[in-house]
Every structure is written in structure tokens, then in C-alpha cells.
């Protein structure tokens, strides 16, 4: 690099640029947080939904599935599974309950988690709440997730 561009100039760009853009990031974060209630469906976070999120986490569902596109890519997207299953929490619960404990020969299969009825209800409600989050352009692009 040329001699006129000195190390101290490079250093100043680093410190100045990093601080400036971090502050900008904080400002955007602040604005996002105040805008969230219009989109994030937080009005529907009941105790049951919160419990459902915990069931979701404590069985590491994200280790196979994606949720709003984030997670593992081994099993279907579940951000819209409630709509994919015809707006039915019963269908979701039925699927989870009916998984064979030894799997399906040669194929991928969801484990049998032996969830209690309360946990089943909770995780289904959590997925319903998730499907009602207002994602930009209604992502995912179609019902298949």
C-alpha cells in the first residue's frame, strides 16, 4: 500500500468506523424493538406458548428442523406447519404422538419423544403462535416451507 496512506490513518478508520457502525447498529436495534409489537405476535404469547417454547428447546427440535428458516436442514420447516396442517393443532399433536419408537427402516423418522399431554398441547400452541408471526413478504414463499 502506498506511503501516503499511513498506519495511523488505517488505525483511525478502524476505530472510528467500528464505533460509528456499532452505534448505528444499536440505533437500528432500538428502532426494531419498538416496532416489533406490530409484527411479532407477542400479544398471543400465553403461559402455554411459553411452555411450548421450552418443550421445543428441551427436545432440541432445532437440531433437525428449521423454524423461520433457521436451524438444521434435515427435516421440514415448522414456522408454517400449523397452516400446512390445515390450521389444526390436533394434526400437529397427532403427528408427534404417532412416531414409531424404532423409526422407519431406511428412512428418516422423527424420534418418539413421549411428551405428556400438557407438553404436547403447549408445543402445538407454540407452533401456532409462530405461524402467526408477521414475517416479511409472508416468508416462506409457499405452504411447503
Amino acid at each position: 500500500m502506498s506511503q501516503t496512506f499511513t498506519k495511523s490513518m488505517a488505525r483511525n478508520i478502524f476505530y472510528g468506523g467500528s464505533v460509528f457502525f456499532f452505534l448505528l447498529f444499536l440505533a437500528l436495534t432500538f428502532d426494531s424493538m419498538s416496532g416489533l409489537p406490530e409484527r411479532d405476535n407477542s400479544g398471543n404469547i400465553t403461559e402455554q406458548v411459553a411452555r411450548g417454547k421450552m418443550v421445543w428447546e428441551q427436545n432440541d427440535c432445532i437440531g433437525c428442523h428449521t423454524l423461520l428458516g433457521e436451524g438444521a436442514y434435515f427435516a421440514p420447516e415448522l414456522g408454517n406447519v400449523y397452516t400446512r396442517y390445515g390450521n389444526s393443532t390436533e394434526a400437529i399433536k397427532g403427528f408427534i404422538k404417532s412416531r414409531p419408537k424404532d423409526g422407519i427402516p431406511g428412512r428418516r423418522s422423527m424420534p418418539q419423544f413421549n411428551l405428556s399431554d400438557e407438553d404436547l398441547d403447549a408445543v402445538a400452541e407454540f407452533l401456532k403462535y409462530t405461524s402467526e408471526i408477521n414475517t416479511a413478504k409472508n416468508w416462506p414463499p409457499n405452504i411447503q416451507g
Binding site: M1, R11, Y73, A75, Q144
Partner: protein, 460 residues
């Protein structure tokens, strides 16, 4: 080795390599589960194997970063490490905590592990990459603080260089942003928003400072180019990394219930994220061209240049490929993401750790500067086998991802997820084959440590 206390780096590097082997073995299992769905089911379900694969990666990279710091900071600071004893103590704490966590994943169902470790009290588990029990997370924080204290005190009492300063900034950032892993609100959108403060601000933020400073150190040592020149490059690279990368976080805020303006902020800034990686490639090649010495450890020079190129391809090019919002709308959460993740992690972080290990290990094992010619040849073969097979893993996953995106998201009659998976099996088989070649490369890498012979001397 100039300072006695640099020796504490050795166990860190050995542990890193050991866990790397574990990571790859689980990678092979996962690849097989993609094509033989019931492989090891229900004993080791996919989600457990994946947790082991990704968590081992994170832990061994952290071991590598710590080993790198313990090796290079005394040399840069021209003083012994503040406390070698503390460094050894934190080594054992980190290793035992890491091993127990992995055993926990493998031996009991995850829900039981959550219950055993009191996840109800402070729920932090079950989120991608942050699956560790809360108590392990607390352990990580304690180890990180002790480590940063040790490194910080060493820097304070010795010579201050740009390299140690940037490294320290990166390490402090690593510790600070990890604290967001303890924030897990019921609100899924907020949870996801701040989850990225750990994940993105690590790998596309502060880790790049660590990467840059290790690379700069190795290039100073192996090329003999003037420190002033290298430090200027380092500042430029990390400036670009943070200027683009911080707001670049926005490319994760497109479709998770966050305001729509992130599609603009995220697209524009993350489109610029390849720049620092491009600069890094130009930097590495320039320094090697302007070298004032021919370092006897040519394997290290190969790793260093490989890091720059592969980081640019994996993080830069493969990242750019799906970072613009209109494209990401279709590709988000498909095998395209997996392709990018593999090459970016390998190219940037795996390779920089292997670079510093390649540079430091001969001296940590009592040699003057380098291994024998024969040993270096084996090491360079392992470089090419692992690197080329990773390119193919990435290409096959990209092929799978393009087809998946088309069949499931873009065509007139979108097909269900599992039907699409069946149609793209061939790509998964080829990925698995490339993975096995990677494993062969890794075995060669291990063998290179045991190849004897006379040390290569520097040509006058």
C-alpha cells in the same frame, strides 16, 4: 521457542486436534444419516449427532484460539506469560467441562440432560449452536474470563504491538457477545434477534479480529516483511470487517418477524462483506511475494495462503451468493446455507488454527523452526486432500441446494420437503464420498506429526 511459558500452548493444540477428529467422525455419521435415514436410529438421532458435530467444532476452535494466544502473546510482548499455572488450570477445566457436555449429549436424552442441569431455572438450552447446558455456559464464561485476564496481564506488562492489541480486542468481544447466550425471552422474534448477537457478531465480527491477528503474526514470522507494513494491512482488513459485518447482521433479519427495512440494510452491507476477505487474500499473496526470507516451514506458508483464499471463497463468495434479500427469500434455510457454512468455517477458522499449529508445533516439540522435509510433504498432502474435498463438499451441497430451492420454493408446483430430499439424494451421496476423502486427509494430517527425519534448514 523464545519464552518458556509459550509451552502451555501445546496441550491446547493437542486437545484441538483431538476434538477436530471427533467432529469429523460425527460429520461422516451425519452425512450417512442424510442418505440412510435410520442409520444409528434411535441410539444417536440426527439432532444429537449434529449437536456433537457443531459443538466440537466451536470448542476445538476455541482451544485453537487460546493455544494461539498463549503461543504468540509472550513472543510479541517479549515477556513470559503472566501465569502459566492458570493457563494449565483453565485448560483442564475447559477440557473436562467440554467432555462432560459431549458425553451428556450422547448418553442421555436431551430433555433429561436439560432436567439434570436445571435448565428450568435459567433456560438457555435448545437453540442452535448454544445447546450447552446453562452450567456449561457459565463454565465457558469463567474460563474465558481467566484466559483473558491472563493474556491481558501479559500484554500489559510487556511490549504492546498492534497484533496483541487486535487479538485482545477480538477475545474481549468474543466473551462479551457470548453473554447474549443467557438471554432467552419467550418472544421467539427477540430470541432469534439476539441469538445472532452471539453467532453473527462472533463469526462475521470479532472472530475476524482473532483470525487477522494470527495471520499477521504468522506472516511476519515466515516472510520477514516489515512489521509496519503488515500492521497497516491488518488495520485495513479488520476495519473493513467490522464496518461491513456489524450492520451485515441485518442479512439474518430478513424473514424472522423483524421490520422490513432490514432487507435493505442487510443486503447492502453484507454484499460488502467479501471485501475484507478479498483484502486478506491480496495481503497474504503480497507479503509472500515481498518475503525477505525463505522460512524452512513451507507447510505453514501453504496453510496461511490457503486460509486467505478459502476464507474469501467460503465466507466471501459463497456468502454473497445468497445474501441479497430477493435471492435469500428463496434460499433461506436450504442446503445453500449448509454449503456456505461448511466452506466458510473451514476456510476461515479451521485453516487459521491449523496454520498457527503448523507454525508453532515444531518449536513446541523442541525443533529449531520446522519439521523434516518428509513430514512437511505429508502435511501438505493433508492440506490438499482436506481443502479440495471441502471444495467438493461445498459444490455438492450447493447443487443439492439449488435443486431444493427450485423444487420446493420456486417451481410452479412446489413439492413437500421430504419428496424433494428424495430427489436430491445423489448429491448427498457425493457429499458423503467427499467427506470420506476429507477423513483420509485428516488421517494424513495426524500421521505428519509422527514422520521423523532431519529438520529442514533455512536456505541462506
Amino acid at each position: 521457542m523464545k519464552y518458556q511459558s509459550q509451552a502451555v500452548a501445546k496441550p491446547y493444540f493437542i486437545a484441538a486436534i483431538g476434538l477436530f477428529v471427533g467432529q469429523i467422525l460425527f460429520g461422516i455419521i451425519l452425512g450417512l444419516q442424510y442418505v440412510i435415514g435410520d442409520f444409528l436410529f434411535p441410539e444417536i438421532p440426527f439432532n444429537v449427532a449434529r449437536m456433537v458435530h457443531t459443538n466440537l467444532l466451536i470448542v476445538w476452535l476455541l482451544f485453537g484460539f487460546m493455544g494461539a494466544s498463549y503461543y504468540l502473546v509472550p513472543e510479541e510482548s517479549e515477556t513470559e506469560l503472566f501465569s502459566p499455572k492458570l493457563a494449565l488450570l483453565t485448560f483442564w477445566i475447559f477440557l473436562v467441562a467440554g467432555a462432560l457436555t459431549i458425553l451428556g449429549y450422547l448418553l442421555v436424552p436431551y430433555a433429561t440432560l436439560a432436567q439434570m442441569t436445571g435448565n428450568d431455572l435459567l433456560p438457555t438450552m435448545g437453540r442452535e449452536f448454544l445447546e450447552q447446558p446453562t452450567i456449561t455456559k457459565i463454565g465457558i464464561v469463567i474460563v474465558a474470563l481467566a484466559f483473558i485476564f491472563n493474556i491481558g496481564m501479559t500484554v500489559l506488562k510487556g511490549r504492546k504491538t498492534v497484533i496483541t492489541l487486535v487479538l485482545l480486542l477480538g477475545l474481549v468481544g468474543l466473551a462479551v457477545f457470548f453473554l447474549f447466550s443467557f438471554y432467552n425471552p419467550d418472544n421467539l422474534v427477540k430470541d432469534k434477534f439476539y441469538w445472532w448477537w452471539v453467532v453473527h457478531l462472533w463469526v462475521e465480527g470479532v472472530w475476524e479480529l482473532i483470525l487477522g491477528s494470527i495471520l499477521a503474526f504468522v506472516l511476519i514470522k515466515t516472510t520477514g516483511v516489515d512489521r509496519e507494513v503488515i500492521e497497516k494491512w491488518l488495520y485495513v482488513i479488520i476495519a473493513l470487517a467490522l464496518i461491513t459485518g456489524i450492520i451485515g447482521t441485518g442479512h439474518h433479519y430478513f424473514w424472522i418477524g423483524t421490520p422490513e427495512y432490514w432487507q435493505w440494510w442487510g443486503s447492502i452491507f453484507s454484499a460488502l462483506e467479501p471485501l475484507p476477505f478479498f483484502m486478506m487474500t491480496v495481503f497474504a499473496f503480497n507479503m509472500v511475494n515481498q518475503r525477505r526470507r525463505n522460512h524452512p516451514n513451507q507447510a505453514t506458508v501453504l496453510w496461511a495462503m490457503g486460509t486467505a483464499v478459502m476464507a474469501f471463497l467460503g465466507a466471501g463468495v459463497w456468502g454473497f451468493m445468497h445474501t441479497l434479500a430477493p435471492i435469500n427469500y428463496y434460499t433461506h434455510g436450504t442446503q445453500i446455507t449448509a454449503a456456505h457454512g461448511h466452506m466458510a468455517f473451514y476456510g476461515a477458522y479451521v485453516m487459521i488454527v491449523l496454520t498457527i499449529i503448523s507454525y508453532a508445533m515444531p518449536m513446541l516439540r523442541g525443533r529449531e523452526a520446522a519439521n523434516s522435509r518428509k513430514s512437511q510433504v505429508v502435511e501438505m498432502w493433508s492440506f490438499w486432500l482436506m481443502t479440495v474435498s471441502m471444495v467438493f463438499i461445498t459444490l455438492f451441497l450447493t447443487g443439492a441446494g439449488v435443486l431444493q430451492t427450485y423444487l420446493q420454493r420456486y417451481s410452479d408446483n412446489p413439492l413437500p420437503f421430504m419428496e424433494v430430499q428424495d430427489k436430491i439424494q445423489l448429491f448427498y451421496w457425493m457429499r458423503e464420498a467427499a467427506g470420506l476423502v476429507f477423513l483420509i486427509g485428516l488421517v494424513l494430517y495426524l500421521i505428519s506429526f509422527f514422520v521423523g527425519g532431519d529438520e529442514v534448514q533455512e536456505a541462506a
